[in-house]
Structure formats: structure tokens, C-alpha cells
Point group: C2
Chain length 357, copies 2
């Protein structure tokens, strides 16, 4: 650990000299699968240890043209869904010996501003969580051979691969659930207007209600933001026709809506008002909230994401893939229950109505 270590890191040439072998031999010792005799290897390892040598990943990247770095662009970190995703992503990429270069603070608008930065580092892949990118840049990635995965978003144009959950189905399930629970009037507190998650969830919800002859839904907008959701809830709850049930586009907002309903309007949940949410995120499970919510299975979504990336990196073929992961409606205490369709699975109550595929 000590020895001739001076300022600046030890190089393979120094190790080679110390071990009395060529620099190539040192390199081969640290390249899995390279041709090296056990004896030489042992000498190199000993010298490396003595000098405190560590291969320089930067130099390696330059020559192999692989940085083993994945850029992750992520916002909404105040919504626990994303930290959970980040942790799982870190775990899974580490297992593949990849590393995460993180860019935060770029919400749904295009992530173009960071693009320059991440391209300069010659990342091997890009994960955009709740962000999109312009088709110009998407095209640039394709010609450069860099795979891009949109996480929890899709775009109409087929510009990049994507991983989402069945948002449309989730919305439908929530609609069925609420109708089955005997609710007659409905509200929706929307996420970001032009995000695919918001559009799909709402479309599914509306479709389910329409099936039962209900076309009138009060709509407010929270833009996946706590304060805006609170304001939307205030407007909706103080209106002349307070709905019996509100679908809030994600749990992060639903928590805020519940607090407004209970503490500003004195409403009992679910006696006076039913609330359902989306994501099945940490606070949804806390007793104070107990939100009936559709899961977005993080583990499966992250697995799919890493899968696509590893696939395309290995093959060099950038063919956009769209993976959609199934989800489940978890039944808790924030909404009145339908008479049928609730079953217990692994100790949790889930809603699986008959005849709804």
C-alpha cells in the first residue's frame, strides 16, 4: 500500500518496471480473458499491490471506445418513486459493471440542455426518466450508436426505446373500481398535460367511466407538482358539485390532495370522499394515507431498461424497443370498495375484476 507512491496515480509502465515485465503484460493481467501466464500474472499482481496500482478507466475508455458509463437524466426526485428507481438502477447497472453519470433537474421539457455534456463523456447509453428529447438529438444518438431508453414516458414518434407500465389499463382499472364502489360523480387531478403517463391514465379512466354511461368528469391540473395539486384540490372541493371520488394522477400529488381534503375541508376519507392514486409509492403505504393505487413495478421496469441497454450495446444494433410492464391495483383504505373483484395476493388486497382483461 505504501512504497514509491508519489503525487499522481501509478501507471502500468511503473508497475511493469517494478515487476520486470513489459507494460503489455501489466495490461493483460488486468484484462479478463487476456493471454497471460500464471507466473507473470503473479509478478504483476505483486508489483501492482506494492505500488497501489489501479487501471486508469479513462485511458482504457479512450482506446476501447467504451466508457462503461450510462447517463441517467432524472427529475422529480421529490417524488419517492424516482429515488427508488435510481437506487434500483444503480444496483442493476453496477451488477453489469456499468456506472451512473447523473443529471438532475431537467423536468419533462426536452432534456436537450444536458445533452451536450453527456455526449462529451461518450456515454455508452442514456436513460431519460420522465424526460424526452428532440428528434434531432435522438437521431444523433442513433447515428452515433448510443442507445437511449425513455423511462416512464413514451413519445408518439418512434425516436427512442421506452419502458412504461400499462398506464391505460391502470386508469381503466381505477375507473371500474370506483364505479364498482358506488361512486356517481368523479374528479381527475391531472399530471403534466402532455406527458404520456398523464394522457394514458386519463384515457383509460375516462373509457371505463364512459362504459358505465358517465361522461362528466371534473378536471383539475396538478402537473405532478405538490403545490399545484393542492390548489387544484381546493378548487375542486370548494366547487358547487364536489365529486364523490377523485383520481389523482400520481401518489405524490394524492398525498397532498388527501391532506387538503381532510384538514382544510374536514372531509373523512373515504366516507365523504374517495381518493385513488398511482405509483404505489412509499407514502401511499403509510397508515395515515393508505392510498388505493396502481403499482408501477420498479424492479421490472428497471430490469427491462437495463436489458434493452445491454442488448443494444452488445449488438451495436439500435432498434427501438417498447416494453410495457404489467401493473396491479393495490387496494387500501382511501376509497370505498366495490362488492366484487378484490382478492388477496401475497398478503395484499388487489383488484382483479372478472371480465376485464
Amino acid at each position: 500500500m505504501d512504497g514509491g507512491v508519489k503525487r499522481g496515480a501509478v501507471t502500468s509502465s511503473q508497475v511493469a518496471e517494478h515487476a520486470g515485465v513489459s507494460q503489455s503484460a501489466v495490461s493483460r493481467t488486468f484484462t479478463p480473458g487476456a493471454s497471460i501466464s500464471p507466473k507473470t500474472r503473479a509478478k504483476v499482481l505483486a508489483a501492482a499491490k506494492a505500488l497501489g496500482y489501479r487501471p486508469n478507466a479513462i485511458a482504457r475508455s479512450l482506446i476501447t471506445n467504451r466508457s462503461r458509463i450510462i447517463a441517467v437524466v432524472m427529475a422529480y426526485l421529490e417524488n419517492l418513486f424516482y429515488p427508488d428507481v435510481l437506487e434500483e438502477l444503480g444496483r442493476r447497472l453496477a451488477a453489469e459493471n456499468y456506472h451512473v453519470l447523473l443529471f438532475t433537474g431537467f423536468k419533462d421539457r426536452d432534456s436537450d440542455p444536458v445533452f451536450d455534456q453527456l455526449m462529451q463523456y461518450r456515454v455508452d447509453g442514456i436513460i431519460l426518466a420522465s424526460t424526452s428529447l428532440s428528434s434531432d438529438l435522438a437521431e444523433e444518438c442513433e447515428t452515433a450508436g448510443i442507445p437511449v431508453v425513455l423511462f416512464n414516458r413514451t413519445t408518439g414518434k418512434d425516436v427512442a426505446s421506452s419502458v412504461t407500465s400499462r398506464n391505460h389499463e391502470g386508469g381503466r382499472l381505477l375507473g371500474e373500481f370506483l364505479v364498482g364502489g358506488g361512486h356517481r360523480t368523479f374528479g381527475y387531478i391531472a399530471g403534466l398535460a402532455n406527458s404520456s403517463t398523464n394522457r394514458d391514465r386519463f384515457a383509460g379512466f375516462r373509457e371505463a367511466l364512459a362504459r358505465h354511461g358517465i361522461d362528466d368528469i371534473q378536471v383539475g391540473t396538478g402537473n405532478y407538482n405538490r403545490q399545484e395539486a393542492e390548489a387544484a384540490a381546493r378548487a375542486m372541493l370548494s366547487g358547487p358539485n364536489r365529486p364523490e371520488a377523485i383520481f389523482v394522477a400520481n401518489d405524490h400529488m394524492a398525498v397532498a390532495v388527501m391532506d387538503v381534503a381532510r384538514y382544510e375541508f374536514g372531509l373523512a376519507i373515504p366516507a365523504d370522499l374517495s381518493i385513488v392514486g398511482y405509483d404505489d409509492v412509499g407514502p401511499a403505504r403509510w397508515t395515515s394515507y393508505g392510498i388505493t393505487s396502481v403499482t408501477q413495478p420498479i424492479s421490472a421496469m428497471v430490469e427491462a431498461t437495463v436489458d434493452i441497454l445491454m442488448d443494444q450495446i452488445a449488438s451495436g444494433e439500435i432498434e427501438t424497443q417498447h416494453r410495457v410492464v404489467p401493473s396491479e391495483l393495490i387496494v387500501r383504505t382511501s376509497a370505498r370498495l366495490p362488492k366484487t373483484g378484490i382478492v388477496e395476493v401475497d398478503g395484499q388486497l388487489v383488484y382483479r375484476p372478472e371480465g376485464l382483461k
Copy 2:
């Protein structure tokens, strides 16, 4: 944007050829402050644009011996304090044109396992959030000239710089606050036993109570983990001498403790039981909880962290610094109030008792 771009990125030599200048001229165009005539520069820029050139940061790093990458090792992402820190860190480092290489999942035990990885990338600095590292590795960083900052932890040995808030004072303030509120029996639900935050907060708390002749504190251990905190709360609340007030070592656990107290034991807060926490994290501010809590000012702490790093990178001098940021006790509804010492600052109630420095 289009042009001769084929698979693989464009190099400075290609740009040089296209522009009819030397490769050096291209490099100088993209090096702020380098000596280049406006005319040459313009030619290069035009060629670069035509070819879609972006400097290769990897190659640059190799020769400048600066990666402009800061390694961030962070765990406890389920505690919103850390995502908030991460976001602020990202913002501040981006402003300095540094990037974040993120390593997650290494809790308070030494972060040695990731160390090898991050050193291979020749990071320019290391931030360890709620993690420490062995003195061997700390020493290695020092000889390598890589600054290390421990964020929200300190170690006894002076192995690395650190940024913390005044945990001891915070604990004392909470003790004074609770005694002032007329509570007579106390509990403490601890964080990780050998973390400096836990030790300092508890020491301050104990000291404040001792001043008032109170030496008996019931102690449970939550290890900064939700489930363990719940278990500790159950044990404490079902014991024969339920305390009147509990200091939970951070808000992340305090939320769980409040849910247990209310929904499993039917206790009214603060009528039957007062709870105080630490961090002033998102959920502490939610109406359902309204936790009286000591702030850890993220912006100031992150600023100090980046400051130390930039300083040491610029000077090349690695002299450990320990920055301690002041905090404030924010008064909300989870604990009974003392008669004096509460003042309003910027629309928030804070506790600033007389005679306590």
C-alpha cells in the same frame, strides 16, 4: 447536423481537415482562453457544426489529468433528505462544470467496496453522504491528491473533510423545548448507533434534560430505518411507563413512529404524546404530520461541500476542513409548546429560547 457523420464520433482531426486548419487550431477553438484568431475560430466552428463535432471529454481528461467528475456515494435514498441533497448537489456542481458519478446502496458501513471503481475513473473529488471510509483509503486519497468530503457525518479521526449541521445543539434545543412544554418523561428512538449524527443529537438532548435534573430516558433503536423505528415505537409505547415525549432521531423515522402511535395505540398527538424529529424533511411539513423538527439546511450544507471541493481541487492542497452549519428548530404541531421562546421568522415558528446560545 448532417454531413459525413458515420458510425462513431467525429474527431478534432476530421474537423481540422474539413476546415483546412491544423488539429491544434481545432483544439484551441474549444479551449477557453487559448490563443486563436477570430478568423480561424470561425472556420473551425463552422466545420464543427457541419460535422456535428463535440470534444471528447475522455481524451481531454487523459491529458489534462482532470476528469471534471465528482463521485457521490449516497444511501438512504428512501429518506427524502438525500434526494433533496442530491438534486442540490447536482445543481451546484453543474454550475461549476462538474459532473456527478453516483454510487448508491452503501449505507453507513465503510464505502470501501465502491472505492476501487471510483478511483479507476480518476474522479477529481469524492463526496460521501452518510458513509465513511477506512483510514487506509482516506490516506490513499490524500497521497493521490483527491479531496474527500464526508457529508452529514464526521469521524473521530481527522481523515477527511466534513460538513455537518450543529447536531449537538439541535439535540439540546429539542430537549429544552420539550422540558419547556411541561413534559416529564422522555424517550429517544435512536438512529444508527455509531453514526456521528446519532451520537451528537442524543448527547445534546441528554445534556439538556440533565440540566433539568432528568437522567432517565427510555431508549429504542431505529437505525434510521422505517421498520426498525416502528418496532422500537411499539416496544416503547406498549411498555409500562409510556413517555410523554419522544425524540426520534430523524423525521424519516418520526413519520413512522407517529403512525404507530396514532393508529396502533390510538394516541392523540400531541395531547397524549409529543413527538419531535430531525431534518425538517418534506413529510414533516405535510399537514398529517406537522413535525416539530430541527432543520439541516441543505442549501448551506451543499454549498459548503462544493466549496471545500473546489478549493482543494484548485489549490491542490488537501487540508481537511470541518464545516458546521447552523440550524433552527421549526415549531409545528406534533409536540406541546413551551410558554416562551417561540418566535416567528419568515412566516415560520421557530424556537429561540433566551440564554441558550
